[in-house]
Symmetry: C2
Subunit: 261 residues, 2 copies
């Protein structure tokens, strides 16, 4: 059964980017539901949908109810909208599919593996969408639906998805924190951050050709204690950066030679 | 006085990439000097230069002696080749310019801010080259020379350069380590690493439009203890990753609210 009529539950970054993309692709979005009528209206008005903020108003004829809310809010929503006839799916990386049991006979997960910003439109076409479903028919329906917006659909179970989400925290959130520290060091010294862009670009390009473990460079992998000690001294007024520098350097040094410390 | 004739001292990644680029641009490289004759020959043969491994054979007529060796080897080299008439410059991020005092009346730094790989040719054109010099004439000569291979020449003193080098360790070496951890988590679960590429690309694109501190997302910045504790538990067999996850999460949480812990 193809998915043609959608209800979006949630009006945050993920719902907004998915909703706008679906709308551009001509998919009918019946409703946007949000806790506050105003944020529902904000999104609904952009994508030709009805805005609602009361669970009782939910359209029971949709083929798919896509829940894009904070992880903690999912169960409460399920308890209020169940039971439904259409497919119920959430978009979370960290929440197990089975939380949706009882919401409908057909349920699943639609997790776009990307970080979403307010400042720009997301191009979904190359974003991996991790899907999982209660049964084969729903699996096919969700994959078919996902293929309307992305060319990279993957069948990933809840356990694997939670591992991907954990890996994503390292490569996205923690990497961004490394950038924030680099930025802070340069700002303190009145050096424009863009001087680091070519280096950052190359850091990312490298790992597409080489396992990142093999691509590791820098003072820690060379166990270059002189530079490491110099850097630790330079960070004496920044105890948090200093602690982080020490821990990561130790771990990198040990990763090539467990005797290094 | 324009820089036309070069002697390269060192035959590692940096010397190789600079040498090949200069050769392509038609700059005359007189000699490649390396501790081992064989590695000098390897590079020299690619760029039409003479290979030497004995300090006494060094050509005294070069306009520029570019020293690209490990930081610790620089002073020894200086003591053996001094005094020279041409400009003597090193390519290190971490070593002060004044180490070159006494090597020549004219000395300076030529630090290309990039990570160099063996597996591919480096396109120097957009790489920031940080230059510093003993005097104004040498400064202009070095900048003119640098402009043969790059469009982004910056005048950066030794103190600023050491700060840039420190920032580079965070955004390049430590970021790569985050990628290595992400890769390891996926490998253990038989998930191809390329599923993370679009996310990694976006992580980098974001910071070109937004200060990385403002671009921070993820469970730590939301102080989402449920997900954080779940991740820490998932890492129970990987104590190093676990320790790192905890420390970075703590620091990110505190960066928005010092009361978080």
């Amino acid at each position: 059964m193809p998915v043609n009529k959608i209800v979006l539950i949630g009006a945050g970054n993920v719902a907004t980017q998915i909703g706008k993309t679906l709308h551009r692709k001509g998919v009918k979005i019946l409703q946007v539901m949000s806790r506050t009528q105003k944020s529902a209206e904000n999104l609904a008005s952009m994508i030709g949908a009805e805005a609602i903020s009361d669970f009782s108003e939910i359209n029971r004829d949709a083929d798919l109810y896509l829940i894009s809310v904070t992880d903690d809010a999912i169960s409460e929503i399920i308890s209020k909208i169940s039971p439904l006839h259409g497919i119920v799916a959430h978009t979370s990386g960290a929440v197990e599919m089975d939380i949706l049991k009882g919401s409908s006979k057909k349920f699943g997960v639609f997790y776009p593996l990307q970080t979403f910003s307010k400042f720009k439109e997301t191009d979904f076409s190359s974003i991996p969408v991790c899907t999982e479903a209660s049964d084969d028919e729903t699996k096919l329906a969700l994959a078919d639906f996902a293929s309307k917006i992305s060319n990279d659909i993957r069948f990933i179970d809840s356990y694997q998805r939670s591992q991907i989400h954990l890996a994503a925290v390292f490569v996205n959130n923690f990497t961004n924190y490394m950038f924030a520290i680099g930025n802070k060091i340069l700002e303190k010294n009145n050096i424009p951050f863009d001087i680091l862009y070519p280096l950052i670009n190359e850091t990312v390009e490298k790992i597409k050709h080489q396992n990142p473990h093999q691509a590791q460079t820098g003072p820690a992998i060379r166990n270059d204690k002189k530079v490491i000690l110099k850097h630790i001294k330079m960070l004496q007024d920044e105890p948090e950066m200093q602690k982080l520098y020490q821990l990561i350097s130790e771990q990198i040094s040990k990763s090539v030679n467990p005797k290094n410390k």
